[in-house]
């Protein structure tokens, strides 16, 4: 989202109520509402991809199960879950007016996000090293790696976008241009990215674990 747009209504009160306007429905001001709506749309996008994966997996005999260990993905999941927690602490601190703590914890979230991305890319490199590409892999139907890279790639793109957004918002929050609401709204997105991963792990990793 363009930061310029997010800042336009920075001066609207927390509930959005003003003297000339009706109070916002559900007391959710426009910016936060827009983020929720974006999350709904993005959920539909991920759902479309995961349904495509399920559809093809179901229709393909001898679907490969190349994963032998869940250690790496478990660590990645733990990191992402922890980052949601640090995000939460950051937002809480911002609401209580503790700016330094809020900035610190947002930056810890950023660091965890980067760590997740690094581990993910390392995993990708390992698979590519074994001969997997978008249209070929050594384990069976090429559709496996097509779908694996597409879905995890889409998620990785979201993580990268989230990291960039968090850095930008945290810096502007530090500089006083953004307030606790902006941090909270960006946090909503980060939790969503985390939540999507909770669907990707069982469907894409655990279901494809070797017997």
């Amino acid at each position: 989202m363009s930061q310029a747009d997010l800042s336009i209504h920075a001066q609207v009160s927390r509930t959005g109520a003003t003297e000339t306007m009706t109070a916002p429905t559900f007391s959710v001001p426009a910016k936060k509402m827009a983020m929720w709506l974006f999350i709904i749309a993005d959920s539909a996008t991920f759902a479309g991809c995961l349904v495509a994966y399920g559809f093809i997996r179901n229709a393909t005999p001898d679907w490969p199960r190349p994963f032998h260990s869940i250690t790496n993905v478990a660590i990645m999941t733990l990191i992402l879950l922890t980052s949601s927690l640090t995000m939460l602490i950051g937002v809480r601190s911002a609401e209580q007016g503790d700016k330094a703590k809020a900035f610190r914890f947002t930056m810890i979230t950023v660091a965890l996000g980067i760590l997740f991305a690094v581990l993910h890319i390392r995993e990708w490199m390992g698979m590519i090293g074994e001969g997997a590409t978008l249209f070929h892999n050594p384990w069976g139907t090429p559709l496996f790696s097509s779908l694996f890279f597409s879905i995890t790639g889409l998620h990785l793109l979201h993580v990268t976008g989230g990291v960039i957004a968090l850095i930008a918002v945290a810096l502007k929050y530090q500089g006083g241009r953004y307030n606790a609401d902006d941090l909270e709204i960006t946090g909503l997105y980060w939790h969503f990215v985390d939540l999507v991963w909770m669907f990707v792990v069982p469907l894409v990793y655990l279901l494809n674990l070797a017997h």
């Binding site: 209504h9 001066q11 003297e19 009706t22 426009a30 827009a34 709506l37 749309a41 559809f55 978008l134």
Partner: protein, 594 residues
């Protein structure tokens, strides 16, 4: 912690030409830009349909200059079978995406939704500007495929796999043409997402004092419901298009089955699913039908109420019915796939909600007819087109009962019966909604009136012409004429050629009527009669209580305050036969929404 100041005007009035008319963040300018885009797209789509109709009606007729459009597609000005399919695909894509989605929803919605809710602008004006320019880019990308060596894709606007996924071996345009098509649609989806975000937040968060949700006019409700559909439907189409592009450029085979033999070649492909494309596409595609038609339901209700001088039998039931249409539209998409090889049990499961969805549609129609009964309707171009909408909606809707049943659909699928059905119910009906809105709101948008005589001529020619085109389609379909045939050479088809000739003449006639409309539009814009006042139709909703055309921040210095329901016409004891929403007059003889 936070400044408790108002929803301050998000932006001051622009001064430079570019910020005023090109990269404007004013929702009214963006609405007009969308309208202009839709008009351009509609003219292109109409010319394409003329060329197709001439070819269908008169066989190998040479159309002078056709070779200029495509050297390979029309040697000697006679189109090749492939070129016919390419034009047909572009006609469908342009009309569905860039006319039926753009005009009633994005154009009128942008202009009037913030005014009807009593807002100064949408909450995210920059997103709004982006949404138009992104949509415009999508249009350019689509049209660019005409100018690639092989021309646009020929797979139909639904782009069924495997044809859409196999590349050039499928025919001209199936390589680069499909990639451009899918890229265009993916870009279009982004524009719709940005637009929907703005529409929903405007409705929920940008209402002036006193404007409760139930006091919103039916148009505002229709755009709100449409934007909720747009939010999720396009979000599913986008990844589908991206996967399709990957099949072309990255060597994947999501939609390419194993060992498909096409044009005597065994194609590389490994176990992709052709049905998957249909599932993803129609999960978007069916809500899309309602995205095209629901704004029309709102516009027609709004126009009729103003001209009947009384509210609909039930404001709430109309809103609930539109909501039910939106909800059900996601559950019925499989009725496009009855003969696709899907499990027959699924057909049954999709047939049931398809029949259920006729209930809210019927309720809407019955409310219209019941409200019209005994009313003294003011006849003008806008109300005529609203009546025409109802007629088309019923005629096209009735054939839906047949198609909703798998056993009958097996016979009628992919025939002209289907083409007639959807052209009437979502094509012509939605166009009539656009026309009703144009004649009705033109004075508010431009400060001038459209010519009523030309408007009525436009209506009668379009009304008669549209029926002459699309009613015979049903007959052709029952006679077994499969759609997408570019020539009729089989024994059972040859006797149908006179019908096709008749349809071609009717299409040219109806198209001519649209040129009258375009003339009327442009002429009235610059030289039309100046609107007598801010409220020429004596309407009640907020767009009629502001200046004409509305100032940059919609209401000038004073924000409106709403005291009444949207449609207080002919209230007993009131001083005039209409009470505007902003009127402070006390009404005794009416139950008002809170």
């Amino acid at each position: 912690m936070h400044d408790m100041s108002t929803h301050a005007v998000p932006h001051g009035a622009p001064t430079s030409f570019i910020r005023k008319h090109v990269f404007s963040i004013d929702h009214k300018v963006i609405g007009k830009q969308y309208y202009a885009l839709a008009l351009l797209a509609a003219l292109i789509g109409m010319v394409l349909s003329w060329i197709m109709r001439l070819h269908l009606g008169y066989g190998s007729l040479a159309i002078p200059g056709l070779h200029l459009l495509s050297k390979n597609g029309a040697p000697g000005d006679v189109m090749t079978p492939e070129y016919y399919l390419q034009l047909m695909t572009m006609h469908g894509t342009i009309m569905v995406f860039f006319v039926l989605t753009t005009a009633p929803f994005a154009a009128f919605g942008n202009f009037f939704l913030p005014i009807q809710t009593g807002a100064e602008d949408m909450p995210f004006p920059h997103f709004n500007m982006m949404s138009f320019w992104v949509t415009f880019t999508a249009f350019l990308v689509l049209v660019a495929s005409f100018f690639t060596g092989t021309g646009p894709t020929l797979g139909g606007w639904t782009q069924y796999a495997p044809l859409s996924a196999i590349g050039d071996v499928g025919g001209p345009g199936e390589g680069l043409g499909v990639v451009l098509w899918a890229a265009s649609i993916a870009i279009f989806c982004i524009g719709q997402l940005l637009g929907s975000l703005n529409f929903i937040t405007t409705t929920l968060d940008m209402r002036c004092k006193g404007m409760s949700l139930m006091r919103l006019p039916l148009t505002a409700w229709a755009w709100f419901i449409t934007s909720i559909m747009g939010l999720t439907a396009f979000a599913v189409l986008m990844p589908a298009c991206l996967l399709l592009i990957l099949d072309h450029v990255a060597g994947t085979s999501f939609f390419r089955p194993s060992n498909a033999v096409i044009n005597d070649q065994v194609l590389p492909g490994s176990g992709g699913s052709t049905l998957l494309w249909q599932h993803l596409f129609w999960f978007f595609g069916h809500p899309e039908v309602y995205i095209a038609i629901v704004p029309g339901l709102g516009i027609v209700s709004h126009v009729l109420i103003t001209n009947m001088r009384r509210p609909m039998l039930s404001h709430r039931v109309l809103i609930y019915s539109m909501g039910a249409l939106a909800l059900l539209s996601y559950m019925v998409y499989g009725h496009h796939m009855f003969v696709s090889g899907m499990n027959p049990v699924s057909s049954l499961a999709f047939s049931f909600p398809t029949l259920v969805i006729t209930i809210p549609s019927t309720i809407v129609v019955l409310i219209w007819l019941g409200s019209l009964y005994g009313s003294r309707l003011r006849i003008n171009s806008a109300s005529l087109f609203a009546l025409g909408f109802i007629s088309m909606f019923i005629s096209g809707g009735v054939s839906g009962f047949f198609l909703a049943q798998p056993s009958i659909d097996i016979m009628l699928h992919a025939t002209y019966f289907v083409v007639g059905h959807f052209h009437l119910v979502m094509g012509v009906a939605a166009m009539f909604g656009i026309f009703a809105g144009t004649y009705f709101w033109f004075p508010k948008m431009t400060g001038r009136m459209m010519n009523e005589t030309l408007g009525k001529v436009h209506f009668w020619m379009s009304f008669v012409g549209a029926y002459c085109i699309f009613m015979p389609f049903h007959y052709l379909g029952i006679a077994g004429n499969v759609r997408r045939y570019q020539a009729f050479t089989d024994d059972y088809l040859i006797p149908l050629i006179p019908v096709h000739k008749f349809i071609t003449i009717a299409a040219l006639f109806t198209g001519f009527a649209q040129l009258i409309f375009v003339y009327n539009l442009i002429h009235s814009r610059f030289w039309g009669k100046v609107a007598p006042n801010d409220n020429p139709w004596e309407g009640t909703s907020l767009e009629w209580s502001t200046a004409t055309p509305p100032p940059h921040n919609n209401f000038g210095d004073k924000m409106p305050v709403v005291y009444h329901d949207p449609y207080q016409y002919s209230v007993e004891g009131a001083s005039t036969d209409y009470v505007m929403q902003t009127s402070t007059e006390q009404l005794k003889n009416t139950d008002e929404e809170k």
